[in-house]
Symmetry: C2
Subunit: 248 residues, 2 copies
Amino acid sequence: MSMIQTMDVDVGEPLSLHQRILSDISERILSGAWAPGHRIPFEHELTAEYKCSRMTVNKALSQLAKAGLIERRRRSGSFVRRPQSQAAVLEIHDIRIEVEALGLPYHYERVARHKRRSGAEDRTLLELDSNGPVLALECRHFAGKRPFAHEQRLINLAAVAEAANEEFFAVAPGPWLIARVPWSAAEHRIRAVAADRHIAAALDIEAGAACLVVERRTWSAEHPVTHVRFTYAAESHTLVARFTPSQG
Amino acid sequence: MSMIQTMDVDVGEPLSLHQRILSDISERILSGAWAPGHRIPFEHELTAEYKCSRMTVNKALSQLAKAGLIERRRRSGSFVRRPQSQAAVLEIHDIRIEVEALGLPYHYERVARHKRRSGAEDRTLLELDSNGPVLALECRHFAGKRPFAHEQRLINLAAVAEAANEEFFAVAPGPWLIARVPWSAAEHRIRAVAADRHIAAALDIEAGAACLVVERRTWSAEHPVTHVRFTYAAESHTLVARFTPSQG
DNA sequence: GCCGCGGTTATGTATATACATATTGAAACG
DNA sequence: CGTTTCAATATGTATATACATAACCGCGGC
């Protein structure tokens, strides 16, 4: 089929006009040429500069505003905002995908499963206020033959009754839940810990070795759904987060 | 003239039409009513449903596409995307602010400062290709009397020449850079490590103890600016990230 | 001087229209 | 039968226009 690839000399992609306006302006802001507080040209001035309609300029400026680079004030104009708090997009993938991205065969193992009324600790982790039933799961995720991650999970059966009938032998609770429960909010906590004996055995490492712990609490429509704690051996995992101030 | 206002009783905020379309659709996607792969109505169908122009529908759908909820294909229509990798907004504050948020007095100490031509390791860390000059810094951040974080930093002097004249006795390199260099991209790596002797001494912990390492690389307009590695004792720090799916 | 009123201004939203572009499916052709 | 061509279709981008809305400004009346 078509070997007709862009063999043209022109390397830059053909940006649409509003994209060009947008990137022109964001460049000037990010380079510092237009400092925070600076009033950027009015729409009608940009209209003249780029010889285009106001709608086109407006599209670009609206996107800059949504991205947080500028602030728009009626009657006054648009102004460069001061740099907002640093934030990064932290990507947390499904473990299977992480493992497979490493080129290793993925394998999942359910270690334990208990259904019980929630105790004090469960209620703290899930932020429950009643002692409703929960499902406690312990699993291991393997990369090749080595344990890659240890998973301790609580599922709020009041929110996901269906889970009570699932053994989780074949399917890991993460993908199972994602497929069933639309989540609306999540909270992550990331820290380093020394492996206790239980974790050390599960991950086949020395007790006291450094581990990365990622805890996630998930809500769906105000109801706590699940709390999960993943523990990774120090060598096996690095979280990567990238951030570029959005260009719209 | 026209006092003809909608003097309706309705208390809810007056959403603009394209916002209403957008939130209607994203609600159906997030609730699971429209599963991944589902084809959402064509623009002309929504035009009929909402009795508005195609531009208005287009605005809503474009934003949904940019937010990653749907994928648009010419001639085929728009489709619900399968939930992309979970992403969370990871807040990474200035260490002074972190410490002060704990109610502890903050104190900063510069341990070492070396100006040198970049070696192989420096070039790897900064992603430099020439052996230009760099400034290597080592610092400690205290919460009260205890070391809170250890900082190892490289600054690319080709990008920030001004840094060569700064001793960093009084001001930490982080705030100093933020005040001067507009950064345009950053990359974070988060992992757990066992403290080596050097780190153990700096943080006043046992060698081999678990530590959380946050490394950040920063670019400004394509130029590498700095690489920094923060090391926290396991007990002293937890990163927290929250996520709520955006409604556009 | 102070207050209110209306006019001016810049942005916010929406419309109808036009043409470009990618993609698909079917017709035409060798 | 396979390949090429073409038209239909949905989205992508841009325009000119219109009116709404918020904020500011100055003018005039008290």
